[in-house]
């Protein structure tokens, strides 16, 4: 059973369509990355499934059940910015989270503050924290009581490189312990390092979703080089399964339908055409590259 099923959710702000019939589901135990450029609808979508915004159409189910406040109590969430009382200390803030959600106890409050390296400043007021510290406290609030599902909207906002690496390790550790993490982020490198599933939004529309592998490998890419690049181009054009070619400084990028290319077969094919290849590189496409490709105007 998926942790979250999103079914044709739409939301408009006046004439602007923030979400247009978005549907996908999030498997249990996955680390799910929600990607998209600014204004693509990521935060709007997360706000709807956390009952902060109301959808104009469509619906969603948490744990296979219609939405309810009881489900939200079981989900640790950080939405957009750290939303905590500025005049309270870290411990006092987490007591409010604990009181509302029912997650965790006094010992857990101290444990999560240690986990996010805020224990030394536990008695300082929220208003005295740096942006990164505020973000850590909001993450601590989400982690309180060890919820099985976490929704983290831009969790690395304001964090330094060490902090980003710590959050990455934290998410990996949560995943190893069977938690489901739903994460919206701009940092594609981070998403690629920690997520096993992604959904990509563009102007409120879902343009890709699935496992990271399946989203990335819609095409295979092999970079070829030969002494005569013009003959190489003519020759490879006749190879079955070729989708397109792209000449770069690295060599000739050849794109094939997934599973139709093999370096050995291509080498043999070229040799039979009388062409000796000087280089064959199987290129693994990166998420960032795919993201720009999918979201390009």
């Amino acid at each position: 059973m998926p942790v979250l099923e999103i079914n044709a959710i739409s939301k408009s702000y006046g004439k602007i369509k923030a979400l247009d019939a978005v549907s996908f589901s999030i498997p249990q135990g996955s680390v799910f990355g929600l990607l998209g450029p600014n204004g693509s609808g990521k935060t709007t979508l997360l706000s709807i499934v956390l009952d902060v915004l109301q959808a104009d159409g469509g619906g969603y189910k948490w744990f296979g059940q219609p939405p309810s406040f009881l489900q939200r109590k079981k989900i640790g969430s950080l939405l957009e910015t750290p939303n905590l009382y500025h005049y309270l200390t870290a411990v006092q803030s987490l007591r409010i989270t604990q009181s509302i959600s029912g997650r965790g106890n006094e010992d857990d409050i101290h444990a999560v503050l240690e986990k996010v390296n805020l224990h030394e400043r536990k008695n300082s007021r929220f208003s005295t924290y740096s942006l990164g510290m505020k973000q850590r406290l909001a993450i601590a609030a989400a982690l309180l009581g060890d919820p099985s599902v976490l929704v983290l909207d831009e969790p690395t906002n304001g964090l330094d490189p060490v902090g980003i690496a710590e959050i990455r390790d934290l998410i990996k550790a949560l995943s190893d312990h069977g938690h489901t993490v739903i994460m919206a982020s701009h940092l594609l490198d981070e998403v690629e390092k920690v997520c096993d599933h992604v959904a990509i939004l563009k102007r409120g529309k879902l343009i890709a979703s699935g496992t990271v592998e399946s989203v990335l490998s819609a095409e295979d890419c092999i970079v070829l080089n030969a002494a005569d690049q013009r003959f190489l181009k003519e020759c490879i054009n006749g190879y079955p399964g070729l989708i397109r070619l792209n000449g770069t400084a690295e060599g000739l990028e050849c794109y094939f339908a997934t599973g139709t290319s093999a370096a050995e077969q291509i080498n043999r094919f070229c040799f039979e055409q009388g062409l000796v290849l000087s280089q064959i590189v199987v290129k693994k496409k990166r998420l960032e590259e795919k993201f720009f490709e999918l979201t390009a105007e």
Partner: protein, 277 residues
């Protein structure tokens, strides 16, 4: 459920210095206004002059028991705007810090959030009523020369009327804060409307009342509950007929105030439920 809401709201308020500072300001404003009025009155009646004796003869002693409950309620009601600032601050802070969203995300229903604020407004009303009661009792003891034969609690209904008036006016302040979301704009509108605009409207309707046969000014949002505590009779005797009518209309205004307060809260629940956070 209710105990959890009370606990959570208490956790929000317990360490909020601005809240306690404003409560302290309220605490000193009530004895302040009543003390000034009492000593001004006392000085005038203690004077051996003709005018002093005339005041004593005409007014009696509005600060003595049992009148002290009425007189201090009337004077204290001018300072409801201070706890109103507290209430506006409590709701606009949630918007400013976006904690109203976090409360929902963490598992509260939208209704629960408004119930939390309802409880906070009840708490502020109770604190304010305790201050009033303390001042009314203290002034009553000071001003009553002979306690024997005096029914101290003859006018104790003003305790209930005062707390109902405060609760109603704080509820309106809450609704303003919820609608406007920006603290200073909400304070400004509250002060401008309650002190200036409603008095202008009230005067306008009073002028028109002879022509229209009814004074609609009595049904303005603040006037509805202001009329729970009319001028004390000893002071109102200068316009005795109107004062008697105002006192006789208190029962009706209790009903109007309860209806208005209920409407304010129902509207608050509705707005918060329907609004995107």
């Amino acid at each position: 459920m209710i105990s959890n809401i009370i606990k959570t709201e208490w956790l929000k308020l317990k360490h909020y210095k601005a809240f306690w500072l404003l409560i302290f300001v309220t605490a000193i404003s009530y004895p302040g206004i009543n003390g000034i009025a009492y000593y001004a009155f006392k000085d005038s009646i203690d004077a051996k002059s003709q005018s002093g004796q005339l005041v004593k003869m005409l007014l009696g002693n509005p600060f003595a028991f049992p009148q002290s409950f009425h007189t201090t309620a009337y004077l204290s009601s001018f300072f409801t705007f201070i706890p109103a600032i507290v209430v506006i601050m409590l709701v606009t802070n949630e918007y400013m810090f976006k904690t109203h969203r976090q409360n929902i995300i963490d598992g509260w229903k939208k209704n629960t959030f408004i119930w939390g604020k309802f409880i906070s407004v009840v708490l502020v009303t109770m604190i304010v009523t305790i201050f009033y009661l303390a001042v009314a009792s203290f002034v009553g003891v000071l001003a009553t020369k002979e306690m024997s034969g005096v029914n101290v609690f003859e006018k104790a209904q003003y305790i209930g009327l005062f707390s109902l008036q405060v609760f109603c006016q704080l509820s309106i302040a809450f609704l303003l804060g919820l609608l406007i979301r920006k603290a200073f704009i909400a304070y400004g509108i509250y002060i401008f409307y309650s002190f200036i605009l409603e008095n202008i409207l009230s005067g306008f309707f009073r002028l028109k009342s002879k022509k229209w046969g009814i004074d609609y000014g009595h049904y303005l949002p603040f006037e509805i509950s202001d009329r729970l505590i009319p001028l004390p009779p000893s002071i109102g005797k200068f316009n005795a007929a109107d004062n008697q009518l105002a006192i006789a209309a208190i029962k009706n205004h209790v009903v109007y105030t309860i209806v208005l307060t209920a409407f304010v809260w129902l509207l608050s629940f509705y707005i918060f439920k329907k609004r995107d956070l």
